[in-house]
Subunit: 207 residues, 2 copies
C-alpha cells in the first residue's frame, strides 16, 4: 500500500463531502468537477473513473443527502398521508434551497431537484439510478395505500399508483413547473380533495 494514500472508499467519502460543501456554498451550476477533486485532494482520474460527469456525482450526492421519509400507519389514511407528504414537501423544499442564498418565499426556483431531473434526462445510467431511487422510496407510501384499500378505507377499484401520482405529482408539479408553494396548508388541502373526490356526476348534462 502506498504511503499516505487513502483507500478508494475513503476517497469516495472525501469526494462526496467536498462536492456537498461546494454545492452548499455555490449551487450546482457554479462549481466544476475539477474543484471537487482539488478540495477532496484526490487525483482527477480517480474522481472521473468513479463519476464520469458532474451529473453522476450529483445523483450520488442526492442519494446521500436525501432524507429517508418514514411512513406511519395509524389507520387514519387522511392523517397518515398528510404527515407523510408534508415531510416529503419539507425535504423537497430543503433540497431546492441547497446552495442558494435565500431570504424566504420569493425564490420559487426548483434548484437541486430540477438539476437532478435534468441529469436523469441527459444520461441513461443516471436516469436508471434516479428511477430506482424513487421506486424504492415510493414503495412505502404505495403499501400504505394498498392497506387502506384492503381495509375498505379506499374504494376496491382504486389504483394506489394513480392515487400516489396525484399526490406526489401535485407537489413536484408546483415545485418544478408552476412555482406555487407546497407548505403544510397546501398538503392538507390536496390530501383532503384527493380523498374526498370532486363529486363529479358521471353524466352531468342531458342524461
Amino acid at each position: 500500500m502506498r504511503r499516505g494514500r487513502p483507500r478508494s472508499e475513503n476517497a469516495d467519502v472525501r469526494i462526496l463531502e467536498a462536492a456537498h460543501e461546494l454545492l452548499v456554498e455555490r449551487g450546482y451550476d457554479r462549481f466544476a468537477i475539477d474543484e471537487v477533486a482539488a478540495r477532496a485532494a484526490v487525483a482527477k482520474t480517480t474522481l472521473y473513473r468513479r463519476w464520469p460527469t458532474k451529473d453522476h456525482l450529483l445523483v450520488a450526492l442526492v442519494a446521500k443527502i436525501q432524507d429517508e421519509v418514514s411512513v406511519a400507519d395509524t389507520g387514519d389514511i387522511r392523517r397518515d398521508l398528510s404527515v407523510y407528504l408534508t415531510a416529503v414537501a419539507t425535504g423537497l423544499d430543503r433540497m431546492r434551497r441547497v446552495g442558494r442564498d435565500l431570504t424566504g418565499e420569493e425564490d420559487r426556483s426548483a434548484g437541486v431537484v430540477a438539476e437532478l431531473v435534468a441529469a436523469a434526462a441527459r444520461h441513461p445510467d443516471v436516469g436508471d439510478v434516479v428511477r430506482n431511487l424513487f421506486a424504492r422510496r415510493n414503495a412505502l407510501p404505495l403499501a400504505l395505500l394498498d392497506r387502506a384499500r384492503e381495509r375498505g378505507a379506499l374504494a376496491p377499484g382504486t389504483s394506489s399508483e394513480v392515487l400516489f401520482d396525484q399526490l406526489a405529482g401535485a407537489l413536484y408539479y408546483r415545485l418544478l413547473v408552476t412555482g406555487a408553494p407546497i407548505g403544510a396548508d397546501y398538503v392538507e388541502e390536496l390530501v383532503g380533495q384527493v380523498l374526498a373526490g370532486p363529486g363529479a356526476t358521471p353524466h352531468p348534462e342531458g342524461t
Copy 2:
C-alpha cells in the same frame, strides 16, 4: 442601412431556426451557443445580447415549438379533461424526444422538458418566463373546471387549481421522475379516478 445586413428581427428568426435544427440533430447538451451563431450567420455578440445563455435560448425555443393545446367544453367534464390531457401528454412526449434518436418505449428520459425545468431553476428571469408560459397555458383548463363546478358537475368546494395539480402533476411526475408511461390509457385511468375519487370514508377506523 448597411448592405446585406438583415434587421434584428430576421436575425432572431434565423437564430431560433438554427437552434431548433441543432436541438433536433443532437439534443440539448451536445451543442454550443457559438455553433448556433455560426449556423445562423449572426455575430456572437448579437446572439448573446438577445439570449445571454443557452438556457435563455432554450426557453425562447420551447415557447415557439410548444403546441397551443385548445380546450373543448362539451359539457362532459370527464371527456373534455381526457381529450385535453391526452393532447398535453402527446405534446410532452414529443418534446421529450426532440434531439433523441429513439426507437420506442424503452427511452424514458424526460429530455427537453427536464432541461426546461432545470433552466428555469438556474436563472430567475428564465424561471419567470417559464412560469408565465404555464400560467397562460393553464388558464383555459382552469376555466373549464370552474365552469364544471358552476353547473354542478363538480362539488361546490372543489378547488380547480388543486384538481388541475392532481391531473397535470401526475403526468409531469411520471415524465420527469418515475419514467412511467403517459399514454392515452393512463390519461383515461387518471381522469376517471380523479373525478370518481377513491371513496375514502372520513373516519375509517374507531369512530
